[in-house]
Subunit: 340 residues, 3 copies
């Protein structure tokens, strides 16, 4: 277990320690933290918890420093500081380089000697695994796929042939990268398959959630730029391009050839039509239905929040009568016009 002294934490964060120095070994929320834990106050609504918290130390902004009854580490951004302290106290388990004897590695594959390949993983011909990378149990790395340095493919990840991952990419279990895009042409006897000959390129520092599906391009590549973070069960269709540092919450789907800008924040269960362009800095709230390109940054939304079923039924009925409502209003206007 890692222990860190508060003075050391303050030093690394370029923050200021108020109160006694001591060691902490875990991060915890204010409400449940004990004397060996460090907590944080990221939002004023939790200020009251400062009084009752038994935390050994709290990461706070300068404005809250006076309220802390125990030790405080004063920083500009307590949430970011918390992320870092949490990483220092919970380091990734060190790799045990080498290939598990149960893994099946093609003789034509290149696995860096400082990489670790877990049990029952498959690495096909010409695939290439970089140093410091972990290919977890049950992962399948298709022919010619290239995984950079210091990646974590946690378990049961499938990279199809030729997929390219940058460095420090983290892929959660069940994700499938590089399956065929959904491309068919209508023929006389049914749909005819269009071979998907593009690839997938995932930039450095991306994180891909459990069960995500990122399809290979039809002719050119599907691309995630650096620092993109996908939550679970996100669907990225062929030839989509997602700009750097964009984050996408769970179950969202991006249809084919849509280009999403940088630094976007996309909520859960959002649907984007194909062949759109979404500008940098766009926020889409959950379940938004995006049918047209969005050219300006800002927050965009759609959908109607849930109501009691009885009320909802009436609303739906009224919605369907909107045309009548407009007609009635127009008739009234005409009658009054007439009179005047």
């Amino acid at each position: 277990m890692v222990k860190l002294r508060l003075s050391e934490i303050a030093r690394r964060l370029e923050g200021r320690l108020l109160g006694p120095d001591r060691s902490v070994c875990a991060v915890a929320p204010l409400a449940s933290a004990g004397p060996e834990d460090i907590s944080f106050l990221a939002h004023p609504r939790h200020r009251k918890q400062l009084e009752s918290s038994a935390a050994g130390a709290v990461l706070v902004q300068p404005v809250d420093a006076g309220r802390v009854r125990t030790s405080a580490v004063v920083v500009d951004d307590p949430y970011l500081a918390f992320a870092r302290v949490a990483r220092w106290l919970n380091p990734e388990p060190p790799l045990e380089p080498g290939i598990h004897p149960s893994a099946v590695v093609d003789p034509g594959a290149q696995v860096h000697p400082e990489a670790q390949v877990g049990p029952l993983a498959v690495i096909e011909a010409q695939a290439c695994i970089g140093p410091g990378t972990f290919v977890g149990p049950g992962c399948i790395i298709g022919a010619g796929a290239r995984v950079g340095a210091d990646c974590r493919l946690l378990a049961q990840v499938t990279l199809c042939r030729g997929v390219v991952l940058g460095d420090r990419v983290r892929v959660h279990p069940g994700a499938v990268i590089g399956a065929d895009g959904f491309g068919f042409a209508r023929g006389p006897e049914g749909w005819e398959k269009i071979p998907q000959v593009g690839g997938v390129r995932i930039g450095d520092d991306c994180e891909i959630g459990a069960g995500c599906t990122i399809d290979r391009g039809a002719l050119e590549d599907t691309v995630l730029e650096a620092g993109v973070k996908l939550d679970n069960l996100v669907q990225v269709a062929h030839n989509v391009r997602i700009g750097a540092h964009t984050v996408i919450a769970a179950q969202t789907g991006i249809a084919g050839s849509t280009h999403i800008g940088r630094n976007c924040m996309i909520g859960g269960q959002v649907g984007c039509n194909g062949h759109l362009t979404i500008a940098d800095g766009v926020t889409l709230t959950g379940q938004a239905m995006v049918t047209k390109s969005i050219r300006e940054p800002g927050v965009y939304s759609s959908g109607l929040p849930a109501e009691k079923n009885r009320l909802w039924r009436r609303q739906v009925a009224r919605f369907r009568r909107l045309d009548q409502l407009e007609d009635r209003l127009a008739r009234l206007e005409a009658r009054i016009e007439e009179k005047e």
Copy 2:
């Protein structure tokens, strides 16, 4: 093949047999059942099928007993009775305790001698598998994970490190339990990962559908209480809590830290925002968009049912003109007011 006499079925169900006793060996719908099948009438709309059905026996409520032309087993709740008879006639295949030679079991793992571990499963260090539990082919049980008694992990299930399952939990293929929650803090050079140090606890008698993703907590645990049933492709984010006996249909997503009550019924493709509280006994219909806490039991809905595209286009246009409609109405009101 299991056979049961109707008298035995009636006895176990504490029901009443009308008509000749005989053996049945399968459950079947009224329309296709034959003389060796037992069927059921759970809804009055299928009553007419009683006349034409060739079923060897029918489970019915007392009110329908007179309509059955073959043998009837009269019970209070034919649908529940059907579930039980179906289980008696289709028992789970018995386990073949032991570890398949192709499975990779860490020497530090504990597999109960009455458990069965299928081919090419991986059981990591300190993991613990209870008696009567089946770990199917290709499953991965992470370090320190604990699976109770009489569970069924059917195939390709991933339990990440430290995940805890109760007894009699059933997990369908492709489900991923305990992947990292989606937690990042914005730093000067992109999103910085917040280690997800909480776990996942799944109560007794839960069922988790194919492809579900249940993330581990950020600081504390994600929890499913006893008897929760998830359909396929359901997303449960970090620190969600789902109350006992709540059922959730496919493709629904529950965002982080939301607490769902007991005995809720949640439809498919529902989206719940994070940090909400949903009371016990709430029903949400399919595709509902839940943006606020729901404090009272009842049925809640949102969304607009599909219409012919041409009509829908007009409705959308009218919806966008609602503000003008309100303005026009206000002007009319003012004019009339003026005149009077």
Copy 3:
């Protein structure tokens, strides 16, 4: 690498070659194609690209033949022609028949000698794999499942017990076919499981996307007819029937016992309630919420496109005031009526 002469392509397509004959070895979009590539013009909006394209040849309709500055292959349907040329230039890699030594094949399974079973696949008792079929790495073929000829199960596919696939079926990684349907009866102490004793039948020439879940039937089978194409993460519940040549985009869910017609086109994130009938030839646009049967072919839609958040908030508020609006209008009408 495959090379084809344009004259040969024209011959196979029953088209007409204009301009010099030459060899091409790849398909590419007009904008990036080089002299060894063949491109296509499927939509008039890309006509301008014909002038600047460096493609060695272009597939065009007769009307565009005069605009091509390089060689043209003139056909009636350039997109369909492109699909075929792409397949000729990118043939499936030939199978290497046989069973990888790391695969676990039950002695009671039947694997055709012309089938290929990849590393770490599992084939259970009584399963049957047809000639020319590829069972990729990490696939699990449950007991008694039957896979026809010339299928491709790419990787990590799970077919549960007894599932039946026709010929030339393509299943992408992570798909789960034949998990239990979501069936429970409410009992005195919680939900009681209803054994799902039906199966799944997938017709010839179907394609099943990555991460799809197709549940087995409760009593009878879940059925996909020939030529059905499912994109990724599609949920097909128990006893659903999908008619021939219907295509379904990603993340759509079809609830239990719904029957979908032939030649339907269903967008992404659509939700269909259970026990509905959708006619042949129905198109549903993305995110449509289908709550009633659709008896006539045509295009159906629902949902409100995303707007700027501020505007959306006002629209939601107005939507909630629709009842007041109707009341105010009715009062005005009454007042005017009164006066006259």
